[in-house]
Protein backbone atom coordinates (compact mmCIF):
# COMPACT_ATOMS: atom_id res chain seq x y z
CA UNK A 1 0.00 0.00 0.00
CA UNK A 2 1.53 3.35 -0.94
CA UNK A 3 1.62 5.87 1.85
CA UNK A 4 2.74 9.49 1.81
CA UNK A 5 5.04 8.76 4.74
CA UNK A 6 8.57 8.68 3.38
CA UNK A 7 10.43 8.43 6.66
CA UNK A 8 8.55 6.01 8.94
CA UNK A 9 11.10 6.25 11.77
CA UNK A 10 10.73 10.03 11.96
CA UNK A 11 6.96 9.73 11.69
CA UNK A 12 6.61 7.43 14.68
CA UNK A 13 9.21 9.37 16.64
CA UNK A 14 7.06 12.43 16.04
CA UNK A 15 3.95 10.61 17.25
CA UNK A 16 5.71 9.54 20.45
CA UNK A 17 7.00 13.05 21.14
CA UNK A 18 3.61 14.56 20.39
CA UNK A 19 1.81 12.19 22.76
CA UNK A 20 4.27 12.72 25.61
CA UNK A 21 4.35 16.47 25.02
CA UNK A 22 0.59 16.87 24.97
CA UNK A 23 0.18 14.61 27.97
CA UNK A 24 2.70 16.71 29.89
CA UNK A 25 0.85 19.91 28.99
CA UNK A 26 -2.64 18.58 29.75
CA UNK A 27 -1.77 16.89 33.02
CA UNK A 28 0.31 19.96 33.87
CA UNK A 29 -2.87 22.09 33.79
CA UNK A 30 -3.76 20.61 37.18
CA UNK A 31 -0.70 22.20 38.74
CA UNK A 32 -0.37 25.86 39.56
CA UNK A 33 1.32 27.79 36.82
CA UNK A 34 2.46 30.78 38.83
CA UNK A 35 4.37 33.52 37.03
CA UNK A 36 7.86 33.59 35.54
CA UNK A 37 9.15 35.31 38.69
CA UNK A 38 7.33 32.94 41.03
CA UNK A 39 7.11 29.73 39.13
CA UNK A 40 4.49 27.27 40.20
CA UNK A 41 4.95 23.52 39.79
CA UNK A 42 3.18 23.62 36.43
CA UNK A 43 5.37 26.22 34.72
CA UNK A 44 8.48 24.35 33.63
CA UNK A 45 6.76 21.10 32.61
CA UNK A 46 4.20 23.00 30.55
CA UNK A 47 6.96 24.78 28.61
CA UNK A 48 8.85 21.52 28.11
CA UNK A 49 5.70 19.65 27.09
CA UNK A 50 4.86 22.35 24.56
CA UNK A 51 8.37 22.23 23.09
CA UNK A 52 8.28 18.44 22.89
CA UNK A 53 4.91 18.45 21.14
CA UNK A 54 6.23 21.06 18.70
CA UNK A 55 9.28 18.93 17.91
CA UNK A 56 6.96 15.97 17.44
CA UNK A 57 4.88 17.87 14.90
CA UNK A 58 8.01 19.01 13.03
CA UNK A 59 9.33 15.44 12.94
CA UNK A 60 6.01 14.24 11.55
CA UNK A 61 5.85 16.93 8.86
CA UNK A 62 9.46 16.21 7.96
CA UNK A 63 8.66 12.53 7.56
CA UNK A 64 6.44 13.37 4.59
CA UNK A 65 9.23 15.28 2.88
CA UNK A 66 12.55 13.70 3.70
CA UNK A 67 12.94 10.02 2.83
CA UNK A 68 14.41 7.46 5.23
CA UNK A 69 14.68 3.75 5.71
CA UNK A 70 11.84 1.61 6.97
CA UNK A 71 11.59 0.55 10.58
CA UNK A 72 13.24 -2.80 11.20
CA UNK A 73 11.10 -5.75 12.23
CA UNK A 74 9.92 -5.85 15.84
CA UNK A 75 10.83 -9.16 17.37
CA UNK A 76 7.70 -9.36 19.44
CA UNK A 77 8.43 -12.79 20.84
CA UNK A 78 11.77 -11.65 22.27
CA UNK A 79 10.24 -8.43 23.53
CA UNK A 80 7.42 -10.30 25.24
CA UNK A 81 9.58 -13.03 26.75
CA UNK A 82 12.14 -10.62 28.20
CA UNK A 83 9.48 -8.27 29.57
CA UNK A 84 7.45 -11.11 31.06
CA UNK A 85 10.59 -12.57 32.64
CA UNK A 86 11.38 -9.27 34.36
CA UNK A 87 7.76 -8.61 35.35
CA UNK A 88 7.42 -12.10 36.78
CA UNK A 89 10.55 -11.56 38.84
CA UNK A 90 8.94 -8.49 40.39
CA UNK A 91 5.67 -10.33 40.91
CA UNK A 92 7.26 -13.36 42.59
CA UNK A 93 10.03 -11.66 44.57
CA UNK A 94 8.21 -10.57 47.71
CA UNK A 95 5.67 -13.32 48.15
CA UNK A 96 7.28 -16.37 46.59
CA UNK A 97 10.88 -15.48 47.33
CA UNK A 98 14.21 -14.92 45.62
CA UNK A 99 14.72 -18.55 44.60
CA UNK A 100 11.60 -18.93 42.41
CA UNK A 101 11.98 -15.36 41.13
CA UNK A 102 15.52 -16.00 39.89
CA UNK A 103 14.54 -19.33 38.33
CA UNK A 104 11.65 -17.60 36.54
CA UNK A 105 13.64 -14.69 35.15
CA UNK A 106 16.52 -16.86 33.95
CA UNK A 107 14.48 -19.69 32.43
CA UNK A 108 11.93 -17.51 30.65
CA UNK A 109 14.43 -15.01 29.29
CA UNK A 110 16.83 -17.73 28.13
CA UNK A 111 13.99 -19.27 26.13
CA UNK A 112 14.04 -16.18 23.88
CA UNK A 113 17.37 -17.15 22.35
CA UNK A 114 17.35 -19.29 19.21
CA UNK A 115 20.23 -21.22 20.76
CA UNK A 116 18.17 -22.21 23.79
CA UNK A 117 18.56 -25.73 25.15
CA UNK A 118 17.04 -27.11 28.32
CA UNK A 119 19.83 -28.80 30.25
CA UNK A 120 22.51 -26.10 30.25
CA UNK A 121 19.90 -23.42 30.91
CA UNK A 122 18.57 -25.34 33.92
CA UNK A 123 22.08 -25.73 35.29
CA UNK A 124 22.78 -22.01 34.80
CA UNK A 125 19.49 -21.08 36.46
CA UNK A 126 20.24 -23.24 39.49
CA UNK A 127 23.80 -21.92 39.65
CA UNK A 128 22.65 -18.30 39.50
CA UNK A 129 19.98 -18.95 42.14
CA UNK A 130 22.54 -20.41 44.54
CA UNK A 131 24.96 -17.58 43.75
CA UNK A 132 22.40 -14.84 44.37
CA UNK A 133 21.18 -16.44 47.61
CA UNK A 134 24.73 -16.72 48.93
CA UNK A 135 25.89 -13.28 47.77
CA UNK A 136 22.81 -11.09 48.14
CA UNK A 137 21.03 -12.65 51.10
CA UNK A 138 23.81 -14.28 53.12
CA UNK A 139 26.81 -12.03 52.39
CA UNK A 140 25.29 -8.63 51.63
CA UNK A 141 22.33 -9.22 53.94
CA UNK A 142 19.68 -7.74 51.64
CA UNK A 143 16.22 -8.14 53.17
CA UNK A 144 14.91 -10.61 50.62
CA UNK A 145 13.06 -13.81 51.48
CA UNK A 146 14.66 -16.90 49.93
CA UNK A 147 11.30 -18.64 49.96
CA UNK A 148 8.20 -16.56 50.59
CA UNK A 149 4.80 -16.93 52.24
CA UNK A 150 3.15 -18.30 49.09
CA UNK A 151 5.25 -21.41 49.41
CA UNK A 152 4.31 -21.80 53.06
CA UNK A 153 7.31 -20.08 54.63
Amino acid sequence: MPTPIRHPKDFWTGIIFLIFGLAAVFIGQDYQMGTAGRMGPGYFPTILGGLLALIGVIAMIRSFVRPGEAIGRFYLKNLALISVAVLLFGFLMRDAGLLPAVLAVVLISAYASPKFSWLPTLLIAIGLAVFSIVVFVKLLGLPMPILGPWLGF
Partner: protein, 501 residues
Protein backbone atom coordinates in the same frame (compact mmCIF):
# COMPACT_ATOMS: atom_id res chain seq x y z
CA UNK B 1 52.57 24.81 46.15
CA UNK B 2 49.03 24.05 46.91
CA UNK B 3 48.77 21.31 44.41
CA UNK B 4 51.29 19.15 46.23
CA UNK B 5 49.46 19.47 49.50
CA UNK B 6 46.30 18.55 47.63
CA UNK B 7 47.86 15.55 45.97
CA UNK B 8 49.31 14.46 49.31
CA UNK B 9 45.81 14.54 50.76
CA UNK B 10 44.65 12.54 47.76
CA UNK B 11 47.40 9.98 48.25
CA UNK B 12 46.44 9.64 51.91
CA UNK B 13 42.85 8.98 50.96
CA UNK B 14 43.45 6.70 48.01
CA UNK B 15 46.18 4.65 49.65
CA UNK B 16 44.06 3.09 52.32
CA UNK B 17 43.63 -0.64 52.03
CA UNK B 18 39.87 -0.41 51.50
CA UNK B 19 40.07 2.22 48.79
CA UNK B 20 42.85 0.41 46.96
CA UNK B 21 40.71 -2.68 47.08
CA UNK B 22 37.63 -0.92 45.71
CA UNK B 23 39.76 0.61 42.98
CA UNK B 24 41.05 -2.83 42.08
CA UNK B 25 37.57 -4.35 42.12
CA UNK B 26 36.28 -1.53 39.94
CA UNK B 27 39.06 -1.89 37.39
CA UNK B 28 38.71 -5.66 37.34
CA UNK B 29 34.92 -5.66 37.01
CA UNK B 30 35.12 -2.91 34.44
CA UNK B 31 37.57 -4.80 32.28
CA UNK B 32 35.53 -7.98 32.58
CA UNK B 33 32.45 -6.09 31.51
CA UNK B 34 34.24 -4.45 28.62
CA UNK B 35 35.37 -7.87 27.47
CA UNK B 36 32.06 -9.68 27.89
CA UNK B 37 29.70 -9.39 24.94
CA UNK B 38 26.81 -6.96 24.96
CA UNK B 39 27.37 -5.15 28.24
CA UNK B 40 28.19 -1.46 28.16
CA UNK B 41 29.63 0.68 30.92
CA UNK B 42 26.35 2.51 31.52
CA UNK B 43 24.39 -0.67 32.14
CA UNK B 44 27.16 -2.08 34.31
CA UNK B 45 27.54 0.99 36.46
CA UNK B 46 23.78 1.16 36.86
CA UNK B 47 23.75 -2.52 37.81
CA UNK B 48 26.46 -2.11 40.43
CA UNK B 49 25.24 1.20 41.83
CA UNK B 50 22.87 -0.34 44.37
CA UNK B 51 25.80 -2.32 45.74
CA UNK B 52 27.77 0.88 46.37
CA UNK B 53 25.06 2.73 48.29
CA UNK B 54 26.25 1.16 51.52
CA UNK B 55 29.87 2.17 50.98
CA UNK B 56 31.41 5.45 52.08
CA UNK B 57 31.09 8.01 49.24
CA UNK B 58 34.76 8.06 48.34
CA UNK B 59 35.02 4.27 48.03
CA UNK B 60 31.85 4.17 45.95
CA UNK B 61 33.10 6.83 43.53
CA UNK B 62 36.56 5.26 43.29
CA UNK B 63 35.02 1.94 42.37
CA UNK B 64 32.61 3.44 39.82
CA UNK B 65 35.41 5.41 38.18
CA UNK B 66 37.47 2.22 38.01
CA UNK B 67 34.62 0.46 36.24
CA UNK B 68 34.44 3.27 33.72
CA UNK B 69 38.02 3.26 32.54
CA UNK B 70 38.34 -0.48 33.06
CA UNK B 71 35.45 -1.00 30.65
CA UNK B 72 37.12 1.34 28.21
CA UNK B 73 40.22 -0.81 28.31
CA UNK B 74 38.34 -4.10 28.08
CA UNK B 75 36.50 -2.77 25.07
CA UNK B 76 39.80 -2.26 23.27
CA UNK B 77 40.84 -5.83 24.03
CA UNK B 78 37.81 -7.24 22.23
CA UNK B 79 38.28 -4.75 19.44
CA UNK B 80 41.79 -6.03 18.83
CA UNK B 81 41.21 -9.73 19.36
CA UNK B 82 37.82 -10.32 17.76
CA UNK B 83 37.15 -7.16 15.78
CA UNK B 84 34.12 -6.46 17.95
CA UNK B 85 34.54 -3.17 19.76
CA UNK B 86 33.14 -3.60 23.26
CA UNK B 87 32.53 0.14 23.60
CA UNK B 88 31.74 2.75 21.02
CA UNK B 89 35.00 4.47 21.90
CA UNK B 90 37.04 1.51 20.70
CA UNK B 91 35.38 1.26 17.30
CA UNK B 92 38.37 2.78 15.54
CA UNK B 93 40.83 0.66 17.51
CA UNK B 94 39.30 -2.35 15.83
CA UNK B 95 40.34 -1.13 12.38
CA UNK B 96 44.09 -1.45 12.79
CA UNK B 97 44.18 -3.47 16.00
CA UNK B 98 42.38 -6.40 14.44
CA UNK B 99 44.58 -6.30 11.37
CA UNK B 100 47.62 -6.45 13.64
CA UNK B 101 46.12 -9.45 15.39
CA UNK B 102 45.55 -11.17 12.06
CA UNK B 103 49.20 -10.68 11.22
CA UNK B 104 50.15 -12.32 14.50
CA UNK B 105 50.89 -9.13 16.39
CA UNK B 106 47.95 -9.25 18.81
CA UNK B 107 50.31 -9.02 21.77
CA UNK B 108 51.94 -5.92 20.39
CA UNK B 109 48.60 -4.25 19.72
CA UNK B 110 47.42 -4.98 23.25
CA UNK B 111 50.65 -3.71 24.76
CA UNK B 112 50.44 -0.55 22.67
CA UNK B 113 46.89 0.04 23.84
CA UNK B 114 47.93 -0.50 27.45
CA UNK B 115 50.98 1.74 27.33
CA UNK B 116 49.19 4.45 25.38
CA UNK B 117 46.26 4.37 27.80
CA UNK B 118 48.52 4.53 30.82
CA UNK B 119 50.52 7.44 29.51
CA UNK B 120 47.36 9.31 28.52
CA UNK B 121 45.76 8.53 31.85
CA UNK B 122 48.75 9.90 33.71
CA UNK B 123 48.81 13.13 31.75
CA UNK B 124 45.05 13.56 32.02
CA UNK B 125 45.20 13.02 35.77
CA UNK B 126 47.79 15.79 36.09
CA UNK B 127 45.62 18.05 33.92
CA UNK B 128 42.64 17.26 36.10
CA UNK B 129 44.62 18.21 39.20
CA UNK B 130 45.86 21.42 37.59
CA UNK B 131 42.73 22.71 35.93
CA UNK B 132 39.94 21.57 38.19
CA UNK B 133 40.66 23.99 41.07
CA UNK B 134 40.74 27.23 39.02
CA UNK B 135 37.66 26.11 37.12
CA UNK B 136 35.85 25.41 40.36
CA UNK B 137 36.89 28.85 41.63
CA UNK B 138 35.25 30.44 38.63
CA UNK B 139 32.21 28.24 39.03
CA UNK B 140 31.81 29.26 42.66
CA UNK B 141 30.98 32.74 41.43
CA UNK B 142 28.22 31.40 39.19
CA UNK B 143 24.72 32.46 39.98
CA UNK B 144 21.58 30.53 39.02
CA UNK B 145 21.44 32.23 35.61
CA UNK B 146 24.97 31.03 34.76
CA UNK B 147 24.13 27.53 35.88
CA UNK B 148 21.01 27.40 33.82
CA UNK B 149 22.88 28.53 30.71
CA UNK B 150 25.70 26.10 31.43
CA UNK B 151 23.18 23.27 31.54
CA UNK B 152 21.64 24.41 28.28
CA UNK B 153 25.12 24.37 26.76
CA UNK B 154 25.85 20.92 28.18
CA UNK B 155 22.60 19.49 26.85
CA UNK B 156 23.07 21.10 23.44
CA UNK B 157 26.58 19.67 23.25
CA UNK B 158 25.32 16.19 24.06
CA UNK B 159 22.77 16.57 21.27
CA UNK B 160 25.24 17.88 18.73
CA UNK B 161 27.53 14.94 19.34
CA UNK B 162 24.83 12.28 19.30
CA UNK B 163 24.59 10.33 16.08
CA UNK B 164 21.39 10.47 14.06
CA UNK B 165 18.82 13.21 13.70
CA UNK B 166 19.52 16.43 15.61
CA UNK B 167 15.86 17.26 16.07
CA UNK B 168 15.06 13.85 17.48
CA UNK B 169 18.00 14.06 19.88
CA UNK B 170 16.66 17.38 21.17
CA UNK B 171 13.31 15.69 21.61
CA UNK B 172 14.96 12.95 23.66
CA UNK B 173 16.64 15.53 25.90
CA UNK B 174 13.31 17.24 26.56
CA UNK B 175 11.61 13.92 27.19
CA UNK B 176 14.37 13.16 29.71
CA UNK B 177 13.93 16.55 31.38
CA UNK B 178 10.20 15.89 31.71
CA UNK B 179 10.70 12.42 33.15
CA UNK B 180 13.13 13.93 35.62
CA UNK B 181 10.32 16.14 36.96
CA UNK B 182 8.11 13.22 37.95
CA UNK B 183 7.58 13.20 41.71
CA UNK B 184 7.08 15.73 44.47
CA UNK B 185 8.04 19.29 43.55
CA UNK B 186 10.54 20.54 46.15
CA UNK B 187 9.22 24.09 46.15
CA UNK B 188 5.49 23.63 46.38
CA UNK B 189 5.18 20.06 47.58
CA UNK B 190 2.82 19.32 44.70
CA UNK B 191 2.97 15.77 43.36
CA UNK B 192 3.62 15.97 39.64
CA UNK B 193 2.87 13.25 37.09
CA UNK B 194 2.61 10.62 39.81
CA UNK B 195 -0.88 9.42 38.83
CA UNK B 196 -1.60 9.15 42.56
CA UNK B 197 0.89 6.34 42.89
CA UNK B 198 2.82 6.62 46.16
CA UNK B 199 5.75 4.77 44.57
CA UNK B 200 6.30 7.71 42.24
CA UNK B 201 6.17 10.37 44.96
CA UNK B 202 9.96 10.47 45.28
CA UNK B 203 10.43 10.48 41.54
CA UNK B 204 11.84 7.78 39.32
CA UNK B 205 15.22 6.50 40.42
CA UNK B 206 17.82 7.11 37.70
CA UNK B 207 19.11 3.56 38.14
CA UNK B 208 15.77 2.26 36.87
CA UNK B 209 15.89 4.43 33.77
CA UNK B 210 19.52 3.56 33.02
CA UNK B 211 19.06 -0.17 33.52
CA UNK B 212 15.86 -0.25 31.53
CA UNK B 213 17.08 1.76 28.56
CA UNK B 214 20.71 0.66 28.46
CA UNK B 215 20.46 -2.81 30.03
CA UNK B 216 17.19 -4.46 29.10
CA UNK B 217 16.56 -2.55 25.88
CA UNK B 218 20.02 -3.59 24.70
CA UNK B 219 19.42 -7.24 25.52
CA UNK B 220 16.24 -7.40 23.48
CA UNK B 221 18.07 -5.76 20.60
CA UNK B 222 21.17 -7.96 20.86
CA UNK B 223 19.01 -11.08 20.70
CA UNK B 224 18.24 -10.25 17.10
CA UNK B 225 21.76 -10.84 15.94
CA UNK B 226 23.51 -13.13 18.36
CA UNK B 227 26.59 -14.07 16.40
CA UNK B 228 29.19 -16.33 17.84
CA UNK B 229 32.61 -14.82 18.20
CA UNK B 230 35.58 -16.44 16.62
CA UNK B 231 38.99 -15.90 18.06
CA UNK B 232 42.11 -15.89 15.95
CA UNK B 233 44.36 -17.46 18.52
CA UNK B 234 43.88 -19.19 21.81
CA UNK B 235 47.06 -17.81 23.29
CA UNK B 236 48.35 -14.28 23.03
CA UNK B 237 52.10 -13.90 23.16
CA UNK B 238 54.71 -11.32 22.24
CA UNK B 239 53.50 -8.64 24.60
CA UNK B 240 56.81 -6.79 24.50
CA UNK B 241 57.35 -3.83 22.23
CA UNK B 242 60.65 -3.40 20.44
CA UNK B 243 62.64 -0.19 20.50
CA UNK B 244 61.47 0.48 17.00
CA UNK B 245 57.82 0.12 17.99
CA UNK B 246 58.34 2.55 20.81
CA UNK B 247 59.74 5.11 18.44
CA UNK B 248 56.75 4.70 16.17
CA UNK B 249 54.15 5.18 18.87
CA UNK B 250 55.64 8.09 20.82
CA UNK B 251 54.29 10.85 18.58
CA UNK B 252 50.83 9.31 18.04
CA UNK B 253 50.46 8.73 21.78
CA UNK B 254 51.36 12.34 22.50
CA UNK B 255 49.00 13.70 19.87
CA UNK B 256 46.23 11.38 20.98
CA UNK B 257 46.70 12.40 24.59
CA UNK B 258 46.55 16.12 23.84
CA UNK B 259 43.54 15.84 21.57
CA UNK B 260 41.72 13.45 23.89
CA UNK B 261 42.31 15.63 26.94
CA UNK B 262 40.95 18.67 25.14
CA UNK B 263 37.87 16.92 23.76
CA UNK B 264 37.10 15.20 27.05
CA UNK B 265 36.63 18.50 28.84
CA UNK B 266 33.95 19.67 26.43
CA UNK B 267 30.46 19.02 27.63
CA UNK B 268 29.08 16.23 25.50
CA UNK B 269 32.58 15.15 24.53
CA UNK B 270 34.46 12.33 26.08
CA UNK B 271 36.04 9.12 25.02
CA UNK B 272 34.16 8.28 21.84
CA UNK B 273 34.62 11.59 20.06
CA UNK B 274 38.26 11.67 21.15
CA UNK B 275 39.11 8.32 19.62
CA UNK B 276 37.34 9.05 16.32
CA UNK B 277 38.97 12.45 15.95
CA UNK B 278 42.46 11.31 16.83
CA UNK B 279 42.32 8.38 14.43
CA UNK B 280 41.39 10.55 11.50
CA UNK B 281 44.02 13.15 12.36
CA UNK B 282 46.70 10.51 12.82
CA UNK B 283 45.78 9.04 9.48
CA UNK B 284 46.48 12.40 7.86
CA UNK B 285 49.71 13.37 9.62
CA UNK B 286 51.40 10.00 10.03
CA UNK B 287 54.37 9.02 7.90
CA UNK B 288 52.87 5.56 7.59
CA UNK B 289 49.43 6.73 6.55
CA UNK B 290 49.41 4.19 3.72
CA UNK B 291 49.52 1.43 6.31
CA UNK B 292 46.43 2.66 8.14
CA UNK B 293 43.68 0.09 7.96
CA UNK B 294 46.23 -2.61 7.31
CA UNK B 295 47.63 -2.99 10.79
CA UNK B 296 49.44 0.25 11.57
CA UNK B 297 50.59 0.36 15.16
CA UNK B 298 50.01 4.13 15.12
CA UNK B 299 46.34 3.46 14.39
CA UNK B 300 46.08 1.69 17.72
CA UNK B 301 48.29 3.98 19.76
CA UNK B 302 46.57 7.27 18.90
CA UNK B 303 42.89 6.47 19.48
CA UNK B 304 43.64 4.37 22.56
CA UNK B 305 45.55 7.23 24.17
CA UNK B 306 42.87 9.67 23.11
CA UNK B 307 39.94 7.72 24.48
CA UNK B 308 41.57 7.17 27.82
CA UNK B 309 42.61 10.81 28.11
CA UNK B 310 39.08 11.85 27.17
CA UNK B 311 37.54 9.46 29.68
CA UNK B 312 39.67 11.00 32.45
CA UNK B 313 39.23 14.64 31.59
CA UNK B 314 35.47 14.25 31.24
CA UNK B 315 35.58 14.12 35.03
CA UNK B 316 36.60 17.80 35.06
CA UNK B 317 33.19 19.31 34.21
CA UNK B 318 31.48 16.67 36.35
CA UNK B 319 33.56 17.36 39.47
CA UNK B 320 33.91 21.12 39.16
CA UNK B 321 30.59 22.20 37.68
CA UNK B 322 28.33 19.28 38.47
CA UNK B 323 27.51 18.97 34.77
CA UNK B 324 27.65 15.50 33.22
CA UNK B 325 29.34 15.32 29.84
CA UNK B 326 28.19 11.79 29.04
CA UNK B 327 25.79 9.17 30.44
CA UNK B 328 28.46 7.61 32.66
CA UNK B 329 29.14 10.98 34.26
CA UNK B 330 25.38 11.41 34.65
CA UNK B 331 25.31 8.20 36.66
CA UNK B 332 28.26 9.39 38.76
CA UNK B 333 26.33 12.57 39.55
CA UNK B 334 23.31 10.49 40.47
CA UNK B 335 25.52 8.37 42.73
CA UNK B 336 26.88 11.49 44.44
CA UNK B 337 23.39 12.83 45.08
CA UNK B 338 22.36 9.53 46.61
CA UNK B 339 25.44 9.68 48.81
CA UNK B 340 24.28 13.08 50.01
CA UNK B 341 26.85 15.13 48.11
CA UNK B 342 25.55 18.03 46.07
CA UNK B 343 27.66 17.97 42.89
CA UNK B 344 29.16 21.30 41.95
CA UNK B 345 32.15 23.53 42.64
CA UNK B 346 31.64 23.27 46.39
CA UNK B 347 32.65 19.60 46.38
CA UNK B 348 36.31 20.56 46.16
CA UNK B 349 36.25 22.88 49.15
CA UNK B 350 33.81 20.95 51.28
CA UNK B 351 35.06 17.44 50.50
CA UNK B 352 38.72 17.89 49.56
CA UNK B 353 39.60 14.35 50.61
CA UNK B 354 36.94 12.93 48.32
CA UNK B 355 37.92 15.11 45.41
CA UNK B 356 41.67 14.56 45.56
CA UNK B 357 41.34 10.96 46.62
CA UNK B 358 39.29 10.26 43.52
CA UNK B 359 41.86 11.93 41.27
CA UNK B 360 44.80 10.04 42.74
CA UNK B 361 42.87 6.79 42.61
CA UNK B 362 42.36 7.26 38.88
CA UNK B 363 46.07 7.22 38.37
CA UNK B 364 46.40 4.15 40.58
CA UNK B 365 43.60 2.52 38.63
CA UNK B 366 45.42 3.16 35.37
CA UNK B 367 48.50 1.56 36.83
CA UNK B 368 46.45 -1.46 37.86
CA UNK B 369 45.18 -1.73 34.30
CA UNK B 370 48.65 -2.06 32.86
CA UNK B 371 50.16 -4.20 35.58
CA UNK B 372 47.25 -6.60 35.89
CA UNK B 373 45.77 -6.79 32.47
CA UNK B 374 48.67 -7.77 30.32
CA UNK B 375 49.59 -10.78 32.47
CA UNK B 376 45.91 -11.65 32.86
CA UNK B 377 45.17 -11.61 29.16
CA UNK B 378 44.50 -15.37 29.26
CA UNK B 379 41.48 -14.83 31.50
CA UNK B 380 40.12 -12.07 29.31
CA UNK B 381 40.50 -14.26 26.23
CA UNK B 382 38.35 -16.91 27.94
CA UNK B 383 35.76 -14.30 28.86
CA UNK B 384 35.60 -13.04 25.30
CA UNK B 385 34.40 -16.47 24.31
CA UNK B 386 31.45 -16.58 26.74
CA UNK B 387 28.45 -17.07 24.46
CA UNK B 388 25.91 -14.27 24.71
CA UNK B 389 22.92 -16.57 25.03
CA UNK B 390 24.37 -17.95 28.26
CA UNK B 391 25.20 -14.51 29.58
CA UNK B 392 22.15 -12.34 29.09
CA UNK B 393 19.79 -14.19 31.47
CA UNK B 394 22.35 -13.50 34.20
CA UNK B 395 22.50 -9.79 33.24
CA UNK B 396 18.72 -9.62 33.47
CA UNK B 397 18.78 -11.28 36.88
CA UNK B 398 21.37 -8.82 38.22
CA UNK B 399 19.37 -5.88 36.86
CA UNK B 400 16.18 -7.19 38.47
CA UNK B 401 17.76 -7.88 41.85
CA UNK B 402 19.59 -4.54 41.78
CA UNK B 403 16.47 -2.54 41.02
CA UNK B 404 14.37 -4.44 43.54
CA UNK B 405 16.94 -3.78 46.25
CA UNK B 406 16.77 0.00 45.71
CA UNK B 407 13.57 0.31 47.73
CA UNK B 408 12.54 -3.31 48.17
CA UNK B 409 9.79 -2.52 45.76
CA UNK B 410 8.41 -4.68 42.96
CA UNK B 411 6.98 -1.54 41.41
CA UNK B 412 10.51 -0.46 40.49
CA UNK B 413 11.07 -3.76 38.71
CA UNK B 414 7.86 -3.29 36.67
CA UNK B 415 8.96 0.24 35.82
CA UNK B 416 12.34 -1.04 34.66
CA UNK B 417 10.59 -3.50 32.32
CA UNK B 418 8.59 -0.60 30.92
CA UNK B 419 11.74 1.43 30.27
CA UNK B 420 13.25 -1.68 28.68
CA UNK B 421 10.39 -1.86 26.18
CA UNK B 422 10.71 1.86 25.53
CA UNK B 423 14.46 1.45 25.04
CA UNK B 424 13.82 -1.22 22.42
CA UNK B 425 11.33 1.00 20.60
CA UNK B 426 13.86 3.84 20.67
CA UNK B 427 16.52 1.56 19.20
CA UNK B 428 14.14 0.64 16.38
CA UNK B 429 13.50 4.31 15.68
CA UNK B 430 17.21 5.25 15.86
CA UNK B 431 16.62 7.36 18.94
CA UNK B 432 19.66 7.61 21.19
CA UNK B 433 19.01 6.98 24.87
CA UNK B 434 22.09 8.92 26.08
CA UNK B 435 20.68 12.46 25.66
CA UNK B 436 17.52 11.35 27.43
CA UNK B 437 19.48 10.08 30.44
CA UNK B 438 21.43 13.35 30.64
CA UNK B 439 18.19 15.33 30.52
CA UNK B 440 16.69 13.07 33.14
CA UNK B 441 19.50 13.69 35.63
CA UNK B 442 19.73 17.42 34.92
CA UNK B 443 15.95 18.08 34.78
CA UNK B 444 15.27 18.88 38.43
CA UNK B 445 18.46 20.97 38.83
CA UNK B 446 17.68 22.91 35.67
CA UNK B 447 14.19 23.79 36.84
CA UNK B 448 15.54 24.91 40.19
CA UNK B 449 18.14 27.22 38.62
CA UNK B 450 15.62 28.64 36.16
CA UNK B 451 13.29 29.37 39.03
CA UNK B 452 15.92 31.04 41.15
CA UNK B 453 17.33 33.05 38.26
CA UNK B 454 13.94 34.48 37.38
CA UNK B 455 13.04 35.04 41.01
CA UNK B 456 16.22 37.07 41.53
CA UNK B 457 15.72 39.06 38.34
CA UNK B 458 12.08 39.77 39.18
CA UNK B 459 10.89 37.65 36.26
CA UNK B 460 13.03 39.45 33.72
CA UNK B 461 14.12 36.79 31.20
CA UNK B 462 16.85 39.12 29.92
CA UNK B 463 18.95 38.07 32.89
CA UNK B 464 20.29 35.17 30.82
CA UNK B 465 21.71 37.43 28.14
CA UNK B 466 22.75 40.47 30.14
CA UNK B 467 25.07 38.56 32.44
CA UNK B 468 28.26 38.05 30.41
CA UNK B 469 29.18 34.47 31.39
CA UNK B 470 25.62 33.29 30.92
CA UNK B 471 25.35 35.08 27.59
CA UNK B 472 28.63 33.55 26.39
CA UNK B 473 27.44 30.07 27.18
CA UNK B 474 24.11 30.55 25.46
CA UNK B 475 25.92 32.01 22.45
CA UNK B 476 28.23 28.99 22.34
CA UNK B 477 25.20 26.70 22.46
CA UNK B 478 23.56 28.62 19.62
CA UNK B 479 26.75 28.54 17.54
CA UNK B 480 27.14 24.80 18.11
CA UNK B 481 23.59 24.22 16.92
CA UNK B 482 23.99 26.51 13.92
CA UNK B 483 27.25 24.90 12.90
CA UNK B 484 25.83 21.41 13.07
CA UNK B 485 22.83 22.43 11.01
CA UNK B 486 24.98 23.77 8.21
CA UNK B 487 24.76 21.30 5.32
CA UNK B 488 28.48 20.63 4.76
CA UNK B 489 29.21 19.94 8.37
CA UNK B 490 26.15 17.81 8.60
CA UNK B 491 27.54 15.50 5.94
CA UNK B 492 30.91 15.41 7.69
CA UNK B 493 29.24 14.53 10.95
CA UNK B 494 27.37 11.66 9.38
CA UNK B 495 30.57 10.40 7.83
CA UNK B 496 32.42 10.55 11.14
CA UNK B 497 29.84 8.37 12.78
CA UNK B 498 29.92 5.83 9.99
CA UNK B 499 33.65 5.35 9.77
CA UNK B 500 33.19 1.88 11.23
CA UNK B 501 31.23 0.34 8.39
Amino acid sequence: MDIFANLALGLDTAFTLTNLMYCLIGVFVGTAVGVLPGLGPVATIAMLLPATFGLPPISALIMLAGIYYGAQYGGSTTAILVNLPGESSSVVTAIDGYQMARQGHAGKALATAAIGSFFAGTVATVLLALFAPPLADVALKFGPAEYFSLMVLGLVASVVLASGSLLNAIGMVILGLLLGLVGTDVNSGAARYTFDMPQLADGINFVIVAMGMFGIGEIIRNLEHDESRSLLMKKVSGLMLSKDDFKRIIAPVLRGTILGSALGILPGGGAMLASFASYSIEKKVSKNSAQFGKGAIEGVAAPESANNAGAQTSFIPMLTLGIPSNPVMALMIGAMIIQGIQPGPAVMTEQPALFWGLIVSMWIGNLFLVVLNLPMIGIWVKMIMVPYHRLYPAILMFCAIGVFSLNNSEFDVYLMALFGVFGYICAKLDLEPAPMLLGFIIGPMMEEYLRRALLLSHSDPMVFVTRPISATMLALAAIALAVVMSPTLRRKREEAFHEDD
